[in-house]
């Protein structure tokens, strides 16, 4: 990789991390009427990083976003920080896995899978955190439904962003 394209990539990753952190924080500020229906908008940046580059960049943006978000929301190293961290890493790995089967899955399917993995990990985290009460696991169906909705929305948003950034008028695309 030449020096210029390396610099370009660093800038892209920095900008995407900033976007992801802001989305993460805004979403945490909004208290939703329905439980377990957070969109996980920040994941759209991980999705695009995985599509444009690969696992390394996707994980990097996820880790930086969780770190910045944790510090700014005052939850650094607290339970919710660990849940965001493990969920974020799980989603990135899950989405990367489906990117290996790109022939069969579009961004929507990939993003849905990422949301399911993230929410399943966070549910397992809550289960462990709360002393392994079986009651926690009854939330699984609700969480799966909300993952379908949020994952599909984020996949569509990712596709939209990817296409518009790739278009002639915008030369942002790496």
């Amino acid at each position: 990789m030449t020096g210029v394209s390396m610099q370009k990539k660093i800038v892209y990753i920095a900008v995407m991390t900033a976007f992801a952190s802001v989305l993460f924080i805004i979403e945490n500020l909004v208290s939703l009427p329905l439980p377990w229906l957070r969109l996980g908008l920040a994941n759209v940046m991980t999705l695009l990083a995985l599509k444009w580059w690969g696992l390394k960049e996707g994980l990097l943006i996820t880790l930086l976003r969780v770190l910045v978000g944790g510090l700014l929301s005052g939850r650094f190293l607290q339970p919710l920080f660990w849940m965001a961290l493990s969920g974020g890493i799980g989603a990135a790995l899950g989405m990367w896995l489906l990117f290996q089967f790109r022939r069969w899955f579009s961004l929507v399917g990939i993003s849905v899978f990422g949301a399911v993995v993230k929410n399943a990990i966070q549910l397992a985290g809550a289960y462990l955190l709360l002393g392994m009460q079986a009651g926690v696991l009854t939330l699984l169906p609700l969480i799966l439904f909300s993952s379908l909705v949020s994952g599909a929305l984020i996949g569509l948003l990712g596709g939209l962003l990817d296409r518009s950034l790739r278009s002639e008028s915008m030369s942002f695309h790496p």
Partner: protein, 126 residues
């Protein structure tokens, strides 16, 4: 410009499998579960004395963030006031069937409705 997303067979299979699984799990917990009998509350890993669901009662449960007020009335139980930031426990609404639960992760509280069998200690022998 035709959107390229949502064009692949794997998407539909994946979404279908997850939806069917979630529906089955939901049906099992919602419609086939028996009416609850006991309310079991657990704070930060400690199980409190179970309360009968038929009672009219207000429980003040002290968690790490403060006091969560839980109301039992008319055969169901719900969180009335919570100190946590997200208020997901409050939004969870009323529960009444065996196996249902309300979970508050920030305040480390799990409220579970159980069936006929009294939760916790089965018997004490001496």
């Amino acid at each position: 410009m035709r959107p390229k997303t949502m064009r692949k067979a794997g998407d539909l299979v994946l979404i279908g499998v997850i939806a069917v699984f979630a529906l089955c799990a939901l049906a099992r917990s919602r419609f086939f579960a028996a009416e609850g009998t006991w309310v079991s509350v657990q704070v930060d890993g400690t199980v409190l004395q179970p309360v009968p669901l038929s009672a009219s009662d207000t429980l003040l449960i002290a968690g790490p963030l403060g006091v969560t007020r839980v109301i039992i009335d008319g055969g169901s139980v719900w969180v009335d006031e919570a100190p946590c930031p997200g208020k997901i426990c409050k939004a969870a609404g009323k529960i009444s069937r065996a196996g249902q639960s309300i979970v508050c992760v920030p305040n480390r509280i799990v409220i579970t409705v159980t069936g006929k069998r009294r939760p916790g200690i089965d018997a004490i022998t001496m």
